[in-house]
Symmetry: C2
Subunit: 229 residues, 2 copies
DNA sequence: GTCTATAATATGATAGAC
DNA sequence: GTCTATCATATTATAGAC
């Protein structure tokens, strides 16, 4: 990076053969470029769909040439697959964080907050996931189905145990989970409609907080046991 | 074109010049053909997106030739626009049916049922609407925004009046409406995921009823006033 | 109104120099 | 690794006969 090569167009690409960590830097640069491309692809895919996005548009947004992009990714489909797979990491993680020994209302409340925060901070991921599933998840389903079912089944058991302990009013755990997903993701996926109707979006802190409170109230209000007496 | 033309491929296209209602029949046939094409387009657009669907595929599904399709619709985009516009009729109608003088829980309950029934019986419409909005509703927004806002604002007033009368616990009306939309539409749009997780879909009557009951419980449970004492 | 070419273009992907 | 052609193909739309 300190070499005499100061090409302003690609400052990250000046590996010095003298340095011992050249290999590492090279790999980093490569990784960064791939990430940049994938990030650009995610954005564009989520806005215009996969088939509505050209390789050239992605290349431009990722600040590489079209053929250079195809050097890093064998094909557009391969790029799409990698973007989708990368999505799943972001997507499945929040569900892992709720456990039976915790207070159900608090746990569900946290989960709603995490999901709504995800909708605010990663709308492109939410939208692309949405479109993929809406269209039948041709790519996603094989990879998603098994881990998703396991995760959901585990959480269903947790919810059922809460109900048995009287900590939660009786409710179908599957539909409870679906409802939380549906509502929280709706604020990302349908943000255009929401903004059209309310004039607000989740990036406005007051609106975020109001939304969070309302969603909690609606979802949790019907399943919170009343204090006896 | 006279009665002797019994081409079996297109049985609906045999208008007899002798009959006085030839004009009418012709227009009907034309309308039917347009409807068939639009119906095929809706199905394919909802499955593969607009850009993932070719005119030829639509033509095949609609049982017309590609060039014949382009005789009825000036362009693919024009066809798409008409499909989307046709959607709105189906889409905005159910919201019209709730009024202030009715019982709120019953009214909201009916609305949820109507919306969930729509998800069961018109999943393609739901999905295409979803994809269009997710992608920013480039076509839809101009047409949708104004009538949607009016409708929503009117319903918000109804809900607020219910709350003032103590018939409904305090809740943000906008988020209540969004939540109902989100959950009910989720069962159409994400049906692949729901089937993957539960093994069921809304076309199974038991599952439909269980879903309806759960959604009602979750949505209405938190906003139904408790009987005093 | 319907069909068979065919034009016009867009786009994914490759070849080969550097 | 990156670039400049360029190929190969898919696809929208049109022209013109019937």
């Amino acid at each position: 990076m300190t070499s005499s090569n100061n090409d302003p167009v690609k400052p990250e690409k000046s590996p010095r053969v003298f340095k011992p960590d050249t290999q590492k830097k090279r790999q980093e640069a490569l990784k960064n470029k791939r990430n940049r491309i994938m990030s650009a692809a995610l954005m564009l895919f989520s806005k215009h769909g996969v088939n509505g996005t050209t390789v050239e548009q992605i290349a431009e947004a990722g600040q590489v040439s079209k053929s250079n992009l195809l050097y890093y990714f064998a094909s557009k489909e391969q790029l799409y697959i990698e973007v989708i797979q990368h999505l799943l990491d972001v997507w499945l993680s929040p569900l892992k964080s709720f456990e039976a020994h915790q207070d159900p209302i608090e746990t569900l409340s946290d989960y709603i907050k995490v999901k709504l925060t995800l909708s605010r901070d990663h709308p492109a991921e939410s939208k692309l996931f949405c479109m993929e599933v809406v269209q039948g998840a041709p790519l996603l389903l094989n990879e998603l189905e098994s881990p998703l079912c396991e995760l959901v089944d585990a959480k269903v058991k947790v919810i059922n145990s809460w109900i048995e302990q009287g900590k939660l009013l009786p409710v179908d755990p599957y539909h409870l989970i679906f409802s939380i997903w549906a509502i929280t993701q709706h604020y990302a996926d349908f943000n255009v409609q929401i903004t059209a109707v309310t004039g607000n979006d989740l990036n406005q802190p007051e609106f975020f907080n109001r939304t969070l409170a309302s969603v909690k109230q609606i979802i949790l209000g019907g399943i919170t046991p009343q204090p006896q007496g």
